[in-house]
Structures are given as structure tokens and as C-alpha cells.
Amino acid sequence: MGCVLKKISFENERYARQMIISGWGDEGQRRINNATVFIAGAGGLGSPAAVYLAAAGVGTIIICDDGEPELSNLNRQILHSDADIGVNKALSAKDSLNMLNPNVTVRPVTERINKNSVESAVADADIMVDCLDNFETRHVLNEFAVKNSIPFVHAGIHGLSGQVTFIHSPETPCLRCVFPGAVPKDVFPVVGVTPGIIGTIEAAEVLKWIVGIGENLKNILLIWDGDTMDFQKIDIKKDPDCPVCGK
């Protein structure tokens, strides 16, 4: 018993500086330690999102990626390094995250997300983080999120620009309301710092939701232009005829 108590206070030392944030405290940290977060993609966005969620002490991180790191990923995918080339990204992510915080349970999923695999991949997650690079898979996740009322933080990047929104249907529009089509996937330009900023903003949105502090980007699309450092917030609305979340 004494041993258990000692372990708890030792662990709280790791999180002491965030626990003194107004509204966080023991209860907020307990919620974080008990939360399960699903991260779709262990690439440019998934790297900082997973790193900062792990460092904050999220109890279980399910991270999903069917790819392997390539040299041309390493200008931004800070979960991986040269030695991980050829290893599955979700497995490589697990190693990096457990090194950063051995108290986090990391469940790697190495399958591709599709209509058949989404349910077993997301499993019992409380919240999902979209760190994907294509809209086809995003729409699969969105449909699953809407059907099960799971909150879903969306982000996307291009060059020095990025966007983020917090989706929690029926309170907010779903991803299909805002982006009805599947934008064709291409090899787009990207500097590491862009997903660094946007992926970390996703992590902040997740932590705020779990702890219950601040305001999430609900019904708002944050658009960021890193070239001029211009941030814009656009009001987004539900499409009443949306094939996913409409009646």
C-alpha cells in the first residue's frame, strides 16, 4: 500500500507543472491518466500530437499507421529517425513514446484504416485525432466518429499553411459538412515546422477536452498561414442534407 502511494506521488512530480494550471489539478491529471486517445497517422502531424500527449501522461495512446518511415519523411516526422527506416511507423512510434514516458500504454495498429478495420482500430478510444494525409481515410474516420458520437480533432497541412477544427457531432458540423469531397492525394510541399505547430495545437485541443478547461475549436475552422503568421477563424455550419450527419 505504502509502495503504491509512493508511486503515485512520484508520478505526479512528472506532471506537477501542468497540474498547477488553473482548473487542471489532481482531477484533471487523473482524467488524463485514465483517457484513451486514438491517433490516426504517425507522420508529420501524428509525431508532435503523440509526443505531447504522451508527455502529458495520457493513459493509453492507440496509434495507427500502415506505412514505414522513409528518408524523405524525416524532415518532419520526429517520432522516427534514420534507424527506424523500414520499421512500421506505429511500431516505431511506440518505441519513441515509451522512451519519452514509460507510464503510457501505447497500442500500435499497423493496419490501414478502412470501413472494415475502423471499428477494431479505434476500439474504446474516448477521442480521435486526425493526423492523416488524405481525405478518403478522414471520411471513414468521420463517419465512425459521427455514428458513435466520438469527438474528433481534424487537422490538415500544406506547405506553410494548416487548418484545425474540433468535431463533435451533433453539436458541431461533421467533416463531410465542411469538406464534402475527397481531395485527390498528391505529394505536397511541407516543412517540418508546419505539422509541428498544427499537430501540437491538436494535442492542446485534446488535453483541454479531457481535462475540461478552456474552449475547443467547435464550429470554428482555424486557418493558419505560416508564411505571414496570420491566423483566421471561420465559422462553420452543419449541412442539413449532409449524407453523414444529416437526418
Partner: protein
């Protein structure tokens, strides 16, 4: 100028697709030298993202050692590095993330007397410190040597950031005169992550010459409501740091 190797061209391929970037710009990054003051919450994302972007020479300075209570945000370090100097630990992490760059670990505590000697001859200074006393020492050197400096500070879920390039912009003393007493402030990793990544972006934009820097305005971020604001900043004509140094230069 050192040329890019075949493997570097591959590593940086995706950013070299950026408009106006290309091989010359990447080569410029490879040949540039930055000084990162602090290997903590801000210094972690700053050094990581400048390293993976291919900034060729990183001098990172910290006299402290990682403690358990640092690890919720200082992602350069982990449990195994507790007790090792932070700059030395940083060098190990950065060289693993990008073996093609040079990292110099400086374990000095920056003081008024040694600031110039520690910082040395660099293209850019990045302020990742946690106290204003030391910030003012590096600000003075930056003003004196006309080296641009990217300042950031964080508290809880908020942060501020600006790029200083005197005499074009106000210096740090004009914006934040004096030093509030150092305190143990609340902070979550994601705050340091957002502000540090923006610092790294400002650094990469400045060194590459692509994009516009935050010169003469202060970015204020409130992560709790995800609000960003920029506030124009003005030079203090009686600033004891930048007006005095400019007078000396002119006279």
C-alpha cells in the same frame, strides 16, 4: 558553401518542393549557424525542428540537468537523461534525429560577462529561456552585434513571441523592460510545443529567406481559447540598451 549530398537532397525533398525553396535555399540552411539559449520546454521543439529542417550548425546552451518535473514538456530528454547536462542530452537527441548536422553542446550558465563569448559568431539567436535576467544579457549582445533574435515566453496555456532585429525593430528591453522575479510557473508541454515550433518556423523562414518574419509585432497566443493576436511594438527612444548602442555606433 558546402554542397548537399545525395541523401540530404532526399531527406529535405518535401520542403524543397516549396515555392522559392530549392537546392540553393537548402544549402543556405546547411551553412547557417544558430545559437539556442536553453534546452528546456521551448528549446526542445526549437532545436528539434531546426535540426530536422537541416540547419547545419546548432549551438545549444544549458547549464541545467533534466528533472522528472521537466519531462511533461522537455521532449529532448527522457527518464534516462536525468542527471546528464541538458545541452549534452540535447546533442544526443538531435544527432539521432539528423546525423547530417553539427550540434555543439554548451554547458555554461549565461551571465552578463560571458554572454558574448558563449554565443559567439552566429547568424541567429533563439531565446528559449525561462527568465528575463538572462534574456536581457543575450538581448544586449544581439543588439550590439546586430544579430537577429527570436524571443518567446510561455505561462500556463499562453505564450508570446517576436523577432527582434535592431535597429529595424524594438529590442527586448523596449518590449519588456526589467525582469519580473523568476517563479515556478504552470506549463503544459503543448504550450511549449506550439510556441517553440513557431519560433523554429520564424528561424527557418529567416535563414531560408522564404516567408515574412514577425518583425516589430508581438504574437500573443492564448491556447485555452485558441486565440492568436499580434500587437505592434514600438522602440523606446530612451531605451538603455538599443538607443544607447545606436548612439555609440552613430557617434
Amino acid at each position: 558553401m558546402k554542397n548537399l549530398t545525395h541523401s540530404e537532397k532526399e531527406r529535405y525533398h518535401r520542403q524543397m518542393l516549396m515555392e522559392g525553396w530549392g537546392e540553393n535555399v537548402q544549402q543556405k540552411l546547411k551553412n547557417s549557424k544558430v545559437f539556442i539559449a536553453g534546452a528546456g520546454g521551448l528549446g526542445s521543439p526549437v532545436s528539434i525542428y531546426t535540426a530536422v529542417a537541416g540547419v547545419g550548425n546548432i549551438r545549444i546552451c544549458d547549464f541545467g540537468e533534466p528533472e522528472l518535473s521537466n519531462l511533461n514538456r522537455q521532449i529532448l530528454h527522457d527518464d534516462k537523461r536525468i542527471g546528464i547536462n541538458k545541452a549534452v542530452s540535447a546533442k544526443e537527441t538531435l544527432e539521432r534525429l539528423n546525423p547530417d548536422i553539427k550540434v555543439e553542446a554548451l554547458t555554461d550558465k549565461i551571465t552578463e560577462e560571458n554572454a558574448g563569448q558563449v554565443i559567439g559568431d552566429v547568424d541567429l539567436i533563439i531565446d528559449c529561456l525561462d527568465n528575463f535576467d538572462t534574456r536581457h544579457y543575450i538581448n544586449e549582445y544581439a543588439v550590439k552585434k546586430s544579430i537577429p533574435m527570436i524571443h518567446a515566453g510561455i505561462y500556463g496555456m499562453r505564450g508570446q513571441l517576436t523577432m527582434i532585429k535592431t535597429p529595424e525593430t524594438p529590442c527586448l528591453w523596449c518590449i519588456n523592460p526589467g525582469s519580473p522575479p523568476p517563479v515556478v510557473f504552470p506549463v503544459v508541454g503543448a504550450t511549449a510545443g506550439v510556441m517553440g515550433s513557431i519560433q523554429a518556423l520564424e528561424a527557418v523562414k529567416y535563414l531560408s529567406g522564404v516567408g515574412t518574419n514577425l518583425l516589430g509585432s508581438l504574437l500573443i497566443w492564448d491556447g485555452s481559447i485558441m486565440e492568436f493576436m499580434t500587437i505592434p511594438q514600438h522602440k523606446d527612444q530612451g531605451c538603455p540598451v538599443c538607443s544607447r548602442i545606436n548612439d555609440i555606433d552613430n557617434g
